[in-house]
Symmetry: none
Subunit: 259 residues, 2 copies
């Protein structure tokens, strides 16, 4: 079980959700397990008022926030996790089964300072999360499903997937979390996603300005660079230092100061 | 995970299910986790053909069996479990949280002789299982939910409740600790110290050449920068990429290639 404060530092992010009844089902599962922060990253208006299946979940829906991009939706989060049904996708990320992912999320919520914020991303039902959307994630989780011979890999209904993931988070007893915390590398306080994104943008700019892009074009895809930056597991206190170094490089190369 | 034979000895029993889309959602969750035997206990005909949300679950729906009574629906089962959201009901049964119920169900499926058959009953969304229906059960399970102050106890959506219960059955590993160890992420191959040191040296050079040292002298002590680089916990495969980026910056700033 999570404390009220821990529940308050988890966001469920629906990316390109189109079906109001799925948004409603996700909100209802959140309400059932005590989660409050629903975010929707969509390029078009979201029909919250049509989310009819959200019995009891009106508070969750009323408080839902909408964003144009995934980057904005996760900007204040220190751990960003994508959900995937795997399948044929060529994954660039570390992938954990849900039961192993939950203790790591809890460890982030429970580390010293209570400043960890966890976002769990769910893609659209048809396509899941795109590679670009996945590149905002620190790592991925999957709900292990049955392999049906001769049939394509199943994908879960969105509302059911949200329910199962949140259930796993609240079911995990305290001692599991401790184990995960102890084996975890000392990552005292990870950088927020917004700073990682600023670092990514500056790094892409440096690659361009130094003509690195000409020599190593295959390393310069934005999604690739975004993953490279996420993999380093940067501490929050170090983010301003790296930002400062990158800004100084850009200034030296161009004569212009980034804000 | 369950064997095919074990999956074959579990029945999901929907009692007085009225909404075709809930029946479809239950069937889809069964398909996702590999369960096959759906039974519906209803006094009136069940509209299987209208169960539209059952993507991929047509086999489960086609094989579903209907019964007039709960007694008939569970007749061949050796362990019958009712699901309940508790609330104000005066329970006459032993009640277990789902995480404690799953190992008992697995034990029944795995006892000598492989003759155990487990039924999990889900009531109608409005009323749950009646006391009479509950009386067919050996014991009850509940999915622990959040207590919202001043609000009636939440009850889960039927499709989501089925998904969560079946997930718990297939997620439970033989030994929790063993599974946790084996699935522990994989930062398997950290960058060698030699590469971290080359990165440190190049970074110090970039700081110097870009005049970062003049603006932020307190960040430029070599030992400080060395710790900064070590803290990022770089993967071995990423080290050459970072080295390449730094070399290119130095080249652009000085016109000289580092070896």
């Amino acid at each position: 079980m999570l404390t009220e404060d821990e529940l308050d530092r988890v966001c469920v992010v629906l990316v390109r959700a189109r079906n109001p009844s799925n948004i409603g089902a996700a909100a209802r599962a959140m309400h059932d397990f005590g989660f409050r922060h629903l975010r929707v990253a969509n390029e078009f208006p979201v029909p919250f008022q049509a989310a009819k299946s959200a019995v009891d979940a009106s508070d969750v829906l009323a408080g839902a926030l909408t964003y144009d991009t995934v980057a904005e939706a996760v900007a204040d989060c220190t751990l960003v996790i994508g959900t995937t049904s795997v399948g044929e996708r060529d994954l660039q990320h570390e992938l954990l089964p849900l039961s192993a992912a939950a203790p790591k999320m809890l460890a982030e919520l429970r580390r010293d300072g209570d400043s960890g914020r966890v976002a769990i991303l769910f893609g659209s039902e048809k396509t899941g999360l795109s590679n670009d959307e996945l590149s905002h994630c620190n790592w991925l989780l999957t709900i292990p499903m049955h392999e049906h011979s001769g049939v394509r890999h199943p994908s879960m209904n969105l509302g059911q997937a949200v329910a199962v993931c949140l259930y796993e988070l609240v079911r995990t007893p305290a001692h599991d979390t401790e184990a995960a915390t102890n084996t975890e590398p000392a990552n005292a306080s990870p950088a927020a996603a917004a700073n990682l994104e600023r670092i990514t943008t500056l790094l892409l700019s440096v690659m361009e300005k130094t003509e690195y892009t000409r020599r190593h074009a295959h390393n310069c895809d934005p999604a690739h660079v975004r993953r490279l930056v996420r993999r380093i597991g940067m501490d929050a206190v170090d983010a301003p230092v790296w930002l400062g170094i990158l800004k100084q490089i850009v200034w030296k190369l161009t004569g212009k100061r980034e804000d």
